[in-house]
Every structure is written in structure tokens, then in C-alpha cells.
């Protein structure tokens, strides 16, 4: 092995990237070559030195600040309209290169559709308002939306040069209403979207409640659809009322669906609300004999914060004989 190669391998070895047989070869070379041994020492010295500039864990304040700022920015984004989501779904579901031209064409159609629908909606909003403004009122007049909730986002602010006039472009939210039964796929779709509405716990509570009721009644609670939405709500929703409803909705699937079981076990281990953890234990009753369930119950029996929950876990474990 020549020394140039050895120098490179010394670096790789120092960073754990050298194959075992090459390490052996390198060691043999180093026993005979002073210069390379010195090279290795120098590199190790560099590594030590570099360590003085150590990696620091971000402190909790920095994390919190960053997260808050991100949440604000995300909240300020205009919500995706159905045609944008549809466009996304089209892109996501098609394969890659072959479908690209098709996807592009569809996007174009969607874009044109979006533009015209957007224009149409604005026009609707205008005529719906009692004000005597015309369709281009948003740009010309001083009529402002009566409630901040009507404004989806501000898209530009321009101050006219040499004047006190400021031009603000904004997008409006157009309230709409639709009615139907819970079997109606459009209603279900809307309810699932609502279950992810980060802004309103009340809305999420209502929608998850309805979706959970559907699942309890066994009305086409598909894994890919409502069941998934309930699992996401159980795992990640910040509101305990919503999580509780989601949990109750998943009850009948805990025996047949491993993913539901896992989600419930996670809730039992991690949920901050003791009521939910208790409910999780009740729900796991049909599968008490499952190995993973028993393991989780053993953990909970010793380490849960609530003495009642520890107690209940122990009782459950005693109830079912252990399988060998």
C-alpha cells in the first residue's frame, strides 16, 4: 500500500468507515511506516481539537420559540381548496415519468378550474353581501370585510407612491353549507377533513364523535379512511375529549386490526390523561392474552403515575393465565 492511499484510509478508519480487511492491511502498513504513523497521530489530534467546538443541545426555549413561530406561519397559510388537494392526490397517486405529462395536463385543467371557480366564488361573495359594491370592490373601494374571520389571508400590501393610499389584496373565506346523511361519502370526506382541523377543538370533537359513532355501529369503517383518521386523532390530537372519542370509536377493531391494537397500547403508555389510559385498558379486554399487550400491562402495572391504573393493570394480568 502506498502512503497516499494509506493517508486516505487513515481518515476513513478514524471515522469508522474502513472495511475490516482494509483496517488489517492498514495496521500492517503502519507498523513499518513512521511517516504514516505520524499522520495518524496528527489526524487523531485534529479530531480531539475539533471536539472542543462541541455540539450543543438546543435549549427548550429555542425549541419552543421555533415551534411557535412555525405554527403561526402555518396557520397563516390559506387552506388548501378541494381542487388543490385533488391535484395533489393526482400527482401523488400516479406513477412517475410516464404519468408526468398526464399529471401536468390535469394540473393545468385543475388550475384553470381553480381560477374560474375562485373568480366565481369571489363574485358570489360580492353579490351575497348587502353592500352596493361591484365585483371588483376588494381592490377599489374602502369596504372591508365585517369580520376578520371572513378574511382567509392577505396576499399583498402596496403603498401608492407619494400618497397615503395603501392597497391591500386579500382572499376571502366563503362560508358554504351542505347537508346529508352519514353514509354520504361527501359528508364523510368533510368530516375526516374536520377531524384534522388544527384550529378548532370543538369542530374536531364533533367530527371525531360522529366518525367514531359510525365505527361503533360498524358502518363501513374502512381501514384506509375513517379508521386511519381516528387513529391519528387518538395518537396526536392535543385535546383529550377528542382523543377519548377516537378511542371509543376504535373499540370494536382492537381484536382484528393490529394497528388499532398498537395505537391503543401507545395511548395506554403515553397518554397524559388517566381517563384515557383507563379506557384503553378496558378496551383491550378481548386481547388480554396477547403477548405485547401483557408486556405493556406489566410496564404500566409498575410505572404508571396513577395508583388506580397500576392496580387495574395488575388485576387484569392476574385474571388471564400466562401462556408458556
Amino acid at each position: 500500500m502506498n502512503c497516499e492511499v494509506a493517508h486516505e484510509r487513515i481518515v476513513l478508519a478514524a471515522y469508522g468507515e474502513l472495511a475490516d480487511d482494509q483496517i488489517h492491511e492498514l495496521d500492517r502498513h503502519l507498523t513499518t511506516c513512521n511517516e504514516c504513523r505520524d499522520e495518524r497521530e496528527q489526524l487523531l489530534a485534529l479530531k480531539t481539537l475539533a471536539g472542543v467546538h462541541s455540539v450543543v443541545e438546543p435549549n427548550a426555549n429555542l425549541v419552543a420559540r421555533s415551534r411557535m413561530r412555525l405554527e403561526e406561519a402555518l396557520d397563516a397559510l390559506p387552506p388548501k381548496r378541494w381542487y388543490e388537494r385533488w391535484g395533489d392526490a393526482v400527482i401523488n397517486n400516479f406513477g412517475r415519468l410516464q404519468a408526468a405529462p398526464v399529471a401536468a395536463a390535469l394540473l393545468l385543467v385543475a388550475g384553470i378550474g381553480a381560477g374560474s371557480i375562485g373568480g366565481y366564488e369571489v363574485a358570489q361573495a360580492r353579490s351575497a353581501h348587502a353592500a352596493a359594491s361591484t365585483a371588483r370592490a376588494a381592490v377599489r373601494t374602502t369596504v372591508v370585510p365585517t369580520a376578520p374571520a371572513d378574511v382567509a389571508s392577505i396576499s399583498s400590501i402596496v403603498q401608492q407612491p407619494n400618497s397615503e393610499i395603501v392597497q391591500v389584496r386579500y382572499n376571502e373565506v366563503v362560508p358554504r353549507q351542505v347537508e346529508g346523511t352519514l353514509d354520504d361519502p361527501a359528508i364523510r370526506q368533510l368530516l375526516m377533513m374536520a377531524s384534522e382541523d388544527a384550529n378548532s377543538a370543538g369542530i374536531r370533537d364533533d367530527s371525531v364523535g360522529l366518525l367514531a359513532a359510525e365505527c361503533r355501529a360498524g358502518h363501513s369503517c374502512n381501514p384506509a379512511g375513517i379508521r386511519d383518521a381516528l387513529m391519528v386523532a387518538l395518537r396526536y390530537d392535543r385535546n383529550e375529549g377528542v382523543r377519548e372519542k377516537a378511542l371509543k370509536g376504535l373499540e370494536s377493531y382492537v381484536s382484528e386490526d393490529m394497528r388499532v391494537r398498537d395505537a391503543v397500547l401507545e395511548a395506554l403508555l403515553n397518554d397524559s390523561d388517566p381517563r384515557i389510559r383507563t379506557e384503553a385498558i378496558n378496551i383491550l379486554e378481548p386481547v388480554e392474552a396477547d403477548m405485547t399487550v401483557r408486556q405493556v400491562l406489566s410496564t404500566v402495572a409498575t410505572s404508571d403515575q396513577s395508583p388506580q391504573i397500576r392496580n387495574v393493570s395488575r388485576q387484569v394480568l392476574r385474571r388471564v393465565p400466562e401462556f408458556q
Binding site: L46, V52, P58, L62, E196
Partner: protein, 204 residues
Amino acid sequence: MNGPDRTQERLQARAPEMELIREAQKGSRVAFDALVRQYESQVLRLALHLTGSEHDAEDIYQEAFLKAFRYIGNFRFECSFYTWIYRIVTNLCLDQLRRRKTRKEDQAVLVDHSGDEIDLLASVSDVRSFSNPERELDRKVLGERIQAALGKLTPRERMVFELKHYQGLRLRTIGEMLNTTEETAKNTLFRATKKLRSQLAGLR
């Protein structure tokens, strides 16, 4: 050996980051927020160490996750989500490094109390010298000197060294993140270590 942690790990291994991603792709803010929480410390740690500034790290965090939110629809599961996110972050960091004005060359030689030049690498073999309280100031100066040396690397060299030495990633992964080959990443690492050594070998 920690009971609750291992059980949770096992569950999380089965539990789908994939589901979270799919939900986020469909537009779920709740799912996206959960993804953010999984990766935010790592993102901040990297950005903080690279830029040395909490303010800059925050900016990179913001841009990275906003980008992730915007483009999560493009994620095709062809690599891990970890790699995908890191790719976004490293690209932003590279941009940052390129944007920074070149600092004036810090040619000052490191001296000790008696005014003699310190040959840094010679003193490194005695690692105890770093924990000597009398040399606390030296340690601080050392840290700055290293940062200065790192600053002399090209952005890509700096990035590869950071990811390899400080973040402990494998060269193959680094290649993926920087959209290049493992071989290129290796060569970049060699250049970086060579340059750093000549920077830190002490000016005689």
C-alpha cells in the same frame, strides 16, 4: 434496559411514520405537527452548530419545515423521511454558508501566558491540558480558533465535515443528503481534514 422505553420503541417501530406522512400528505396539520416534533431537535442541533447562532438556527428551522410542508406531497418514500428532511436542511445550511460574508482572515497566532507561540497540535496529545481550569480561557480561544478554521473550508467541505465528525452520519448517507455519491463525499472529507490540519498546525 429501560422497560417503558423499549416497549415504546417496539411499538413505534411498528407504528407508522409512514401513516403520519401519508396523513400529512393528505393535508393533516395534526400529523404534520407530529412529524415536526420528531425531527425538530435534530434540525436545530445541526443548524445551531453549523451557524453558531440561535437566530440563524431558528430561521433555518422555519424555512426547512415550511418547505417540508409545501413539498411533502412530493415525498415518494424512495428514501427515508429522515434523509429527505436532512436534505432540505443541509441545502438551506449550504445556502447560509455561501451567503455569509467572508470574514477577514484571522491570522493571529495563539499565544500562552508567557507570550510564547502555542503549537496547538503538539499540545493536544496531552488531553489533560484541556480540563485544566487555568487554561479555561485557552479553551475558549481554542474553540474560536477551530470555528475560524472551519470557516475557511468551502461550504461543501464544511458541510461534509460537520455531518461526519459532529453529527456522526455515514458517508453514504451524507452522499444521499447532498445529492452526490459516497465517493465524492469521501474525497470532500479528505480535503476538509487536510485543510483543517494545515490551519491548526500552528503558525511558526
